[in-house]
């Protein structure tokens, strides 16, 4: 399975997380992993509570992505460029 490797990134780089509510099956694993990053809408699907995250949260969001049973969470290295 393809996961973003963090080996060459310093923990200080911001981490960017994408969630796909259409794939989410609402098992709530992510909320258990970090309730400050992941929430659930009233319909029960995943919702990001914060946009760009500090690098210190990289390991916890990577864990959330790995545990998500629906592959609804993806972690990329950097924040999206400002539009």
């Amino acid at each position: 399975m393809c996961r973003v490797s963090n080996a060459f990134r310093s923990p200080g780089d911001p981490v960017h997380v994408n969630v796909d509510a259409a794939r989410c099956v609402g098992a709530g694993q992510c909320v258990r992993t970090d309730p400050t990053v992941f929430g659930q809408s009233d319909e029960g699907t995943v919702r990001l509570l914060r946009g760009s995250l500090p690098g210190s949260l990289r390991s916890v969001v990577t864990e959330a992505a790995a545990l998500c049973p629906a592959q609804a969470i993806t972690v990329t290295g950097t924040a999206d460029p400002p539009h």
């Binding site: 099956v25 609402g26 659930q40 319909e43």
Partner: protein
Amino acid sequence: MIEIPSAATASPQYPQRRACPYRPAGGYERPVTRVRLYDGRPAWLVTGHETARQVLLDAATFSSDRQHPAFPALAARFEAARAVRNFIGMDPPEHTAQRRMLISGFTAKRVATLRPAITEIVDSLLDEVVRRGPGVDLVATFTLPVPSVVICRLLGVPYADHEFFEHQSRRIAAGTSTAAESADAFGQLKRYLLGLIETKGRGGEDMLDVLVDEQVATGTVTTPDLVDLALLLLVAGHDTTASTLALGVALLLEQDAGAVAADPTRVGAVVEEILRHTAVADGVARFATRDTEVAGVRIAAGDAVVVALSAANRDPGPFPDPDRFDPRRGGRQHVTFGHGPHQCIGANLARAELEIALSRLFTRLPTLALAVPVEELGGKEAGGVQGVQRLPVTW
């Protein structure tokens, strides 16, 4: 007729009865091996952790469609369950549309708001345990009632009816039930739920009220379908949670680890390790919808595939020294609740129930001990939810 090649006759049986109720039977080869089902049908048993996740994630290749003739039954009595149409036995997108209706009832927020009610339920059941005194059977007085009262509360079933519910769902789950008995229990629960649902809705707050107001009223789901959904929640969440709780108590007593469960800061990790160890849903069935390859093994369209959750949880890769009970593992990657689109919808509810039940039990009865040796607790028939028949304790 399925032809059984001679090699398959020599392959081991799955499922097998557990010698120790909280240890998986078999010692099957990893990550994929050939087994024989109860009716002699050959099947692929997936035992490796990563392979298990891969198979469960790919619902397009590995179907859960229980009405399809290729879907394998793990015991004779499950042949009857083919007729029940619930999303646990459907594939996406049909599966996902039904599941979507329910997930709002199981969000982390919803589960958190239920915690005080769960604590109250647990404490009042423990009052009765204490009143009955040493020698009491915790299965009858505690582990079975906790999830049944909780699910009744969640759905909006009157408390007065919870004994009826427990009795009927026990008849469905019991390994000793005949197909006719479990069909009768299903019928009784259905009739009851139909009557109950007619009184629901109109702005009420229970899960059934909300489903009637939002889904039945708008035509998304029919009343008979809602009856089947309620039945699924009731059956899927009862014996599983009850058995995990009973096995968890036995395991903690054997390990002399009750004090850790009484510690609210550590009970969460204890529950995860109990879940990993016990895997009461020992294996989940699928069939291949097309020719495919898994961990180098070629699987043909129509082949039976069983994912042995209990074996995947003992894979030494992610779980070094897998047979050791060690709450410090801190790993949540066990597959006791499955993986992929069918991953247990009630996982966080079950965790809350287990955490509260274990921490209250060991806080109130710190000297708890088994009244009989583990071997006398009576395991369950292979193929169904694993557990014990009784749990007599002293303190």
